[in-house]
């Protein structure tokens, strides 16, 4: 009698371990915050939307480098020496500058190390920034709109007849 219970217990344990592993495999393990709180309440809506500043004005490396780049603190300050000096967030910005500290932004879009994603090639292909980044001009706080999974990449590559060779991205 006791033996049966033991066998049954072991079987249940094995099944539950197997099931949980399968569940973990299927489950997206990406628990990253899609819209994290940033150290500074920077509004893309105010900059890109209301004031119509072009994306590449600040993210200036996108046409020539794999990374789009985020503006240096000195770049932010250059404009805000004259614009809305009295807002609390700008005072925070100036505080960073005075402490000689870069702003520790929280990354929203990130790809694993085995993926090579060059911004410049996508800009050269005349792809709109919103295709991946969503309607940034309407966002107060940046929110990730794309899953950034391989299937999502491939979909777009197929639509635009871009190469889907493994070596295109995994190199």
């Amino acid at each position: 009698m006791k033996k049966t219970w033991l066998i049954a217990g072991l079987a249940v344990a094995a099944i539950s371990v197997g099931a949980s592993m399968a569940f973990m495999y299927i489950l997206p393990l990406d628990f990253r915050d899609r819209s994290p709180i940033q150290p500074l309440a920077f509004s893309h809506k105010a900059h890109a939307g209301d004031n119509g500043i072009a994306c590449l004005y600040c993210h200036r490396y996108a046409p020539k480098s794999p990374v789009a780049g985020i503006p240096a603190v000195a770049d932010c300050r250059a404009c805000h020496l004259f614009i809305s000096l009295n807002s609390a967030e700008i005072k925070k910005l100036m505080g960073y500058w005075e402490k000689r500290e870069p702003i520790p932004w929280v990354r929203v879009y990130g790809l694993p190390d085995h993926v090579y994603f060059p911004h410049m090639m996508h800009i050269r292909a005349k792809l709109d920034c919103t295709a991946c980044h969503g309607e940034v001009a309407a966002m107060e706080r940046i929110t990730r709109t794309a899953s950034l999974k391989m299937g999502w990449c491939l979909n777009c590559h197929r639509q635009h007849k871009a190469s889907i060779d493994c070596w295109t991205c995994h190199k």
Partner: protein, 732 residues
């Protein structure tokens, strides 16, 4: 708490920990505070052409730099020596730049010598200390009390140090390297009347006979010869070049050979003459070559009478069959090539043995011919007796005739103590080191004026025997210096300016790059029609000045009346009964002569033959080890007439039973956290067996005995080699 609750709680904690581990965090994105300079695009790499000065081969490199940081070094495809390839040592030079123990600014000794206690001072103070001591020498009319010790320099650095010492008025300028090529230049001068180094056309040869020349690891220009060896074996459709290796220890080069002749140490020259005699007896020699070199077969045969097969077989410990087979193969396969290496040269009969090996090249008529030997295009002249200079400097220091010693490099670690250098240097009242790490020499120094890392430096690298055409590699700084360091030549120029008078007049350059430009301007004189500024930019972009046509130098021709090579019987330090084994000390494949030891990539690179990592070891033949009761990894003591060292044993079938071998490079007292106190320095075992009037460094002529201490050798290997070497293939 109940048992059940405890189990429940601990289960929940464990599950929570597992889940928390799976959760990925949002990373931080840190922007620049101030945007980078024009020309730097974040995320996009720039490539700078420069040169590697780790070893004398002087390969061309391309350095990948992104966001102003050097990231990766590769070979420069345009460079005639390495053609885009690069060895592990060259790749690891990157770590010199980022070494955590680099000397960040000038240091002044504050504790006793060797204690490693230094106080940080400014460059102004450091230079004032240096010039102050030199001015004092000038005031007291004792300019010859200054000594300058450097590795063997070429190009602008050689010119600069020579004119500095000349103008200051001191003859004590020592350019010494343990692995310097003096022996080969000496042999070439005696046989061919020119002290140039040979360029072996390995790629085109069909039969290679290497007498201890480990060209895959370090000999002359390893990247060039490794590449050429590949082409010799596989580069031609119908021919696979044959390779016979002569030497008591099977090196990585030896392991690449088709046939291994483990000749007795010191008998290689006799073997070469024995082969020569066989070739003459069987009339397999190239008659045209003998006539062109003014030699006659009959006289040669008469002189070589003593080298008959049975005597040679007895002296070398090889079989009649092997010797006569190799002689026939070597003479009947054209082109055939013989090379001489360090393990032959550093015997008491070294230079004559090397000449005997060169005579083989002459006999089969491959001097100045495809698949044969040419004079090297780049380094026509060089040091020929730096060992004598070392001994005279040691004598001067012992006699308290040196008051200030300027030392570049790490001679305290890299010169065998038997030469008396270390103990003599300790008598010098003021020692200045230019090391960028606190190495063994810097530990003894009173003042350290740290040099830039190679990737922060300007310079030129003239390749050593790596090409038939002349080539000058340029070095340019690929990053802005990380610390408050200054380049060694800049310090010399600044000192000269400060000293004034004759010294300043001899070195009028405002800066070292200016001197380098002026020197290059002279070299490209022929293209003077062009605008030099534009040409200079081109040269930097290309990595140097690479001529496409082979040098105009004279080919090799036997000096009329030069005596035929006559290697005498080798002599060894240590009595044969007391010290039954020959010791061979060889440059470690990753660490070279020790300059690679501070770099962790090289430390963790397993030795290609034994797979040992991070340590020193002694290689012992399985038969000898069995006789002595030594097992793999046991701690043993190796005793020579000069001293004793304890290190783990590696049972190595690729070595003669009467021989043991230890790699050099480890056993540093300084050299940063990765080198310090790791392994032993085998140079401490070497005796200075000095021959007659003309002293020669006989570093491979020491005998030792080995005894087991314990089973705890703490040997770390990347794989257990016993079992992977098949003794039936090796044949001993």
């Amino acid at each position: 708490m109940k048992r059940r609750t405890f189990l429940q709680l601990s289960g929940m904690t464990a599950a929570g920990a597992v889940l928390a581990g799976c959760q990925s965090q949002n990373e931080k994105l840190i922007p620049y505070l101030v945007p980078p300079d024009e020309g730097v695009t974040p995320g996009k790499a720039d490539y700078y052409a420069s040169s590697c000065r780790f070893c004398p081969a002087g390969c061309g490199i391309l350095v990948r730099v992104s966001e102003g940081r050097a990231k990766k070094i590769e070979g420069n495809p345009a460079h005639p020596v390495n053609r885009g390839k690069l060895c592990a040592r060259g790749q690891a030079v990157l770590q010199e730049l980022y070494h955590p123990d680099r000397v960040p600014q000038p240091l002044k000794r504050s504790g006793p010598r060797g204690s490693g206690q230094f106080t940080r001072i400014s460059w102004q103070e450091g230079l004032a200390l240096l010039t102050g001591s030199l001015k004092e020498l000038q005031r007291e009319k004792a300019a010859d009390r200054l000594a300058l010790v450097t590795p063997q320099l070429r190009g602008t650095l050689a010119e600069l140090t020579t004119s500095f010492m000349g103008a200051f008025g001191s003859p004590h300028h020592l350019s010494f390297e343990l692995l310097g090529m003096d022996w080969l230049r000496t042999a070439n001068r005696r046989s061919f009347g020119q002290a140039s180094l040979p360029f072996y056309d390995l790629a085109e040869t069909r039969y290679l006979l290497s007498f201890g020349a480990d060209f895959v690891e370090y000999h002359l220009s390893p990247v060039q010869y490794g590449y050429a060896f590949g082409r010799m074996r596989q580069g031609r459709d119908t021919v696979r070049g044959h390779f016979t290796y002569v030497g008591g220890r099977m090196s990585l080069t030896g392991a690449s050979a088709d046939r291994w002749l483990p000749a007795r140490p010191g008998s290689e020259g006799t073997l070469a003459l024995g082969l020569a005699r066989l070739i003459l007896v069987e009339s397999l020699f190239d008659a045209g070559s003998l006539t062109a070199n003014g030699l006659r077969a009959e006289t040669l045969l008469h002189t070589l009478e003593g080298y008959d097969l049975s005597r040679v077989a007895e002296k070398t410990g090889l079989t009649h069959k092997a010797i006569s087979e190799v002689a026939r193969e070597f003479a009947t396969t054209r082109p055939a090539l013989a090379m001489a290496g360090e393990s032959v040269a550093f015997q008491t009969n070294g230079p004559e043995s090397v000449r005997a090996i060169q005579l083989l090249n002459l006999l089969v008529g491959n001097l100045n011919r495809p698949g044969g030997v040419y004079p090297d295009g780049g380094s026509m002249a060089g040091a020929e007796n730096s060992f004598t200079e070392l001994l005279s400097l040691v004598a001067a220091m012992r006699g308290d005739r040196i008051r200030v010693a300027l030392v570049h490099g790490d001679p305290v670690h890299a010169i065998p103590p038997a030469s008396g250098f270390q103990e003599a240097l300790a008598r010098v009242p003021f020692i200045v080191s230019f090391s960028s790490l606190i190495d063994d020499t810097a530990l003894q120094a009173d003042l350290i004026l740290p040099d830039h890392a190679a990737l922060e430096s300007w310079g030129d690298a003239i390749p050593l025997a790596g090409a038939r055409q002349a080539a000058v590699g340029l070095m340019q700084p690929v990053v802005t210096p990380l610390f408050d360091t200054r380049q060694f030549p800049e310090v010399l120029l600044a000192t000269a300016r400060e000293l004034g008078g004759k010294t300043a007049a001899a070195l009028p350059h405002q800066s070292y790059p200016e001197m380098l430009q002026g020197w290059m301007r002279k070299r490209v004189g022929r293209m003077a029609g062009q605008d030099f500024e534009a040409l200079w930019v081109d040269l930097l972009r290309q990595g140097g000045l690479f001529e496409t046509k082979p040098g105009q130098g004279k080919g090799y021709r036997w000096v009329p009346g030069a005596p035929l090579p006559a290697p005498e019987a080798p002599r060894f330090a240590g009595d044969e009964r007391e010290f039954p084994l020959h010791l061979q000390v060889y440059p470690s494949t990753p660490l070279y002569d020790g300059r690679g030891a501070p770099l962790p990539w090289l430390q963790q690179l397993p030795d290609p033959m034994t797979t040992v990592v991070w340590d020193s070891w002694v290689e012992i033949n399985p038969r000898t080890a069995a006789d002595l009761g030594i097992g793999f990894g046991d701690l043993v003591e190796v005793t020579s007439p000069q001293g004793a060292l304890r290190l783990p044993a590696v049972i190595y079938p690729g070595i003669r039973p009467d021989m043991v071998a230890i790699p050099m490079g480890q056993g540093q007292r300084g050299g940063g956290r990765y080198a310090k106190g790791r392994g032993v320095n085998p140079l401490a075992l070497l005796a200075a067996t000095i021959e007659g009037k003309d002293p020669q460094p006989a570093w491979n002529a020491t005998r030792v005995r080995v005894s087991r201490i314990s089973g705890k050798g703490d040997l770390v290997t990347a794989g257990h080699p016993q079992g992977s070497y098949r003794s039936e293939l090796i044949g001993i």
